[in-house]
Amino acid sequence: MGSLYMLQWITILFFFTLVIGVIAPIGGVGGGVLFVPLAVAFLPFNVDFIRGAGLLMALTSSLSSSPLFVTKGLANLRIVVPIALVSIITSICGSLVGLWLTNSFPRGDSYFSIFLGILLIFIFIVMLTSRDVEYPSERPVGSFAAKFGLQGGWFEPSLNRTVDYHAGNFTYALLCFSAVGFIAGMFGLGAGWASVPVFNLVMGVPIKAAVTTSMALITLNSAAASWVYIARGAVLPLICIPSVLGMSIGARIGARLAVKAKSRFITGLVMAVMLFAAAVDIYKGIRGVGLL
């Protein structure tokens, strides 16, 4: 009976993450932003283990894609390193605060559920209002940014030339990325939904380089934050193994489909699912704290 129950949950988790893995790249989001809220809303695991698995999924997917992006010069380590100095610290802080919230308060997981729902609504608004700029105009480069020489370039086959760019607004971006790191650690998300617009719209990095550089940053943030979850026993192999497998296979299928599929409908569907998950998370949280 126990083995059957286990097999049932392994299968559910595998297919749950497989479907998310397929849909997420077509919808233009990372898997974690769907996995964490949906799992909190509908699966029986505690939020600690869901966040641990979410971070591990963000880590494996960014580790799998970053080497190629770095080799091609698309992911800009020159920009990532000074930002990661701050965002790693805030992601560790976020993880500690997140685990403290759920482990130190009797209804901590319900409060967490409400915060997650609110965050999802915020993400929904960001996705709805922000418009990616393929080649943004150059942003002001302050003296601080000038010291780091935040510039990059890659050979763009569609233009048959090298695209060079300078990133600016470093101080504002650093503030944004400290918040992004904190949220990533606290909620167990990769947080590409936040870092891509900051690279693109605040720093003026072309969208292609923004997406890939964001992946490299997620690698560092999620790895540092995951140590907090591992040390507190919030990474359970029983949950992580089928989830990582399902997400990895699904993401590979999704990445192939994303090239062919018309993504506007799927993006709309993903956003609708996010809004629905937000409503369920908030409802579940409010019920949990006894207000309903």
């Binding site: 010069g73 100095l85 790693i88 790895a223 040390a231 497998l245």
Partner: protein, 133 residues
């Protein structure tokens, strides 16, 4: 400070190669021992007990399943070579991959970015080692 100080092709190549190798090694460990663990071969913790308590916060969960709260890495490293512990070493390797990759490229750096990378490595080491302090 020249642009090639950080974006030098050989640094990028080393970074990508080390990261790719370690990621594959971590994933192979995770999948191989994970599948054996899920098949019911030699696990440290009773899976029925895990499923009974996985709705509880991590601290409470470990009190019920392991007899004490988890602090540090002893909750799986002490039980090697059980399959769940070996699967966890795959996860550890994945989480260590960025740090090891940075260690491979730091000696190629010069000037300001050398200092930045050393600080980044110290931060990473802190995130790994603080539970043991």
């Amino acid at each position: 400070m020249g642009r090639d100080e950080m974006n030098h092709a050989s640094i990028n190549q080393t970074f990508a190669r080390i990261m790719r190798i370690l990621t594959w090694a971590g994933l192979i460990l995770l999948v191989l021992f994970g599948v054996l663990y899920l098949s019911g071969i030699y696990a440290t913790y009773d899976t029925a007990l895990i499923m009974q308590h996985w709705d509880k916060p991590a601290s409470q969960f470990w009190l019920e399943v392991g007899g004490e709260e988890a602090h540090g890495y002893g909750w799986f490293l002490s039980f090697l070579p059980s399959m769940d512990s070996l699967a966890m070493t795959g996860i550890m390797l994945l989480a260590l991959t960025p740090l090891i990759t940075l260690l491979f490229v730091v000696w190629k750096m010069k000037g300001l970015y050398l200092i930045l990378l050393v600080v980044l490595i110290v931060e990473f080491l802190f995130s790994v080692l603080w539970p043991l302090l």
